[in-house]
Symmetry: none
Subunit: 204 residues, 4 copies
DNA sequence: TATGAATGAGGTTTCATTCAT
DNA sequence: TATGAATGAAACCTCATTCAT
């Protein structure tokens, strides 16, 4: 009765601890102490240590997905959509460096056993990018030569790598700079060069 | 009796085991058995379990770097250089899926303590990409609007993500397709728009 | 369920096991089994195996010191004091042969690393003897030719050696005999012989 | 052909290493390195690690016994004999602090398993003291109230404790002082009171 | 005799998980 | 629900010993 959302507190503590020590070097008791609960209490909310990581991931992905969907609302231009998507991803990362670390680093490690688990949220995340690309292709804004799925994955890889560098390293460039960079690189690669041919041509 | 390079055998075994179970879920005794040596023998060649991972990384990076340098020999065109770089990366990954997994997945996990270690090889790898970009910019082939360092990182992220997907997943697309995809996306983004040089077009 | 002092139980078990097998040949699991606890439980009460030995020592010394102080209460005569001290030491040893072995034998072995630890109790023990000697010298009962500190040490060595022999060997002599022996040897050597000549003399 | 007495070199190395680290914390390889031989070579001269300690002990005791016997040669007065015995013990210890440590410290530790082994040398050492006392008693120089065996043990304990203190600690007193101290304490306790005797003299 | 690389048994210690309260 | 003392399985690593050369 005292604690409204103990589960939440444990998840937040886990993100903090996992980010600092890495999943395998974190102790359940550390998470418990950080959350201000007893060791045993954790097992009232989670099946085991691994389950905490999974829930952290699912919860975080849900939140990020929610933000992305919110951010996309009302947007029409595929180029704009992609730009906003990248921006939102960076903002999410910037907001919680710890979360970024856990998601990008710890998650890969665990991906082996996670493949068996519910990885849908990540699939949906990639799906969002792919859908934007497809729409762009349909609208004639993006070149049809690139596979939406593969490109989505490539874009995610690039964004994620930079976000990781930004999150973990001594950020030399500002977040928005880094973000702008990434998008420019991709967008140019994606866009049909309407200008290219015609403009160039333009022989009246 | 004719054990020429026991160290090598252990490293190879480690890659195999780490790739399958993940570093933290692998037991030293598994590696020993896979290598066909006694548990204790491992400690004649490596300081501890972690050291095995580090050596795997260093050795592999050295090998990949060597290949990349060899592949770049004689190339002049920046676009060609980048294309070849990506290809070589994919080929290396394709050759040893296990190695790819260990490098991309396990390594991140360990990056916390590894930052303190000799990560030079990875820096050199990124450096190669950055240098290619710089040369391209100097030659007027690549746009100057993008920072070589950040772009190198983004490109690596994309390549690596796809390589990982290819290595771990049920490869739906062929290796060369995936490879071609990535490069096209980037190269287009990087290249100065020949069109932009409507000059080329030239309306006289 | 009714485990009042698990720490105590472990210490007692340790004394027993260490005495029988020697510290370095004892396994923590043996101590655990003897104490009726799980292996891991030991580490809730002690830092490590070595720490058990140190605590055994400190606890035992505290107890012996307590007894000695109690036994000395109300005594005035230095000779009597020394005699009682020896008696009490023997009695303590007699009470727990195992404890004697651990303290006298195992402790020396560990003295190297223990010098850095809290050896105060032992110093206090020697100090008690030295103080008795000093008081005896001040009272004119003991010769001033002997250094209290060195003599204390010598006396301890003798008492301890006999206690050890008694504790470990096939005791051929009774405890009280052995005890009486030691004290007589020392006390005679310590006492000033004022009386000796004259009194005996009685030249007619 | 090169090494005349490899066995000797190993024993000397062992004394050095055991004294510094203690028997159980010493590694056979350390002894080998200190002796300048290969690990395996040690097993050509000794059955196992424990055997090295035993041989060190036996050899050292033999040497000390030889010295004592040599020192006792020509002596007649029991008091003088005991004094010389103590002096010789201290001198032996002084000569090789390491040896003293090994004998007094490590040996006790190992006494459990050594009881089954040939401990004769130590028995002979105690026997020497006991014999001197007996002779003194027979000659009327020492009181008959003390058991030679127990007294010998007590004396050894005292001498050894002081030698140990002297060997391990920061020697505050000179060796000869410490030595003189011990003997005075004992001799006085042992001697029949020349004074007391006059009474014996007579009254005819 | 001498070597030293290889062995592999086994101990200390950790830590996820349980369960009596 | 909550606790946290207790559990005990299991892993890393050491190191005495062997044996092919």
């Amino acid at each position: 009765m005292t604690e409204p959302d103990k589960r939440r507190r444990i998840l937040d503590a886990a993100v903090k601890v996992f980010a600092q020590y890495g999943f395998y070097n974190s102790k359940v008791s550390q998470v418990a102490k950080e959350a201000g609960v007893a060791d045993g209490t954790i097992y009232l909310y989670f099946k085991n240590k691994e389950d905490i990581l999974i829930q952290v991931f699912i919860d975080s992905m849900d939140e990020i997905l929610r933000r992305q969907e919110e951010a996309q609302e009302g947007l029409e231009d595929p180029v704009e959509k992609l730009r906003v998507f990248a921006e939102t991803h960076f903002l999410s990362v910037a907001e919680s460096r710890a979360l970024a670390e856990v998601i990008t680093v710890e998650l890969r490690q665990s991906s082996k056993f996670m493949r068996s688990t519910d990885m849908k949220p990540f699939g949906r995340y990639l799906g969002m990018i792919a859908k934007i690309i497809e729409e762009g292709q349909d609208a004639g804004a993006f070149t049809r030569t690139l596979s939406p799925r593969l490109t989505a994955r490539a874009i995610f890889g690039a964004i994620d790598e930079l976000a990781l560098e930004w999150a973990m390293g001594k950020r030399q460039s500002s977040l928005s700079d880094t973000c702008a960079h990434t998008t420019e690189l991709f967008l140019t690669g994606l866009q049909t060069r309407p200008t290219s041919t015609p403009s160039s041509g333009g022989k009246p």
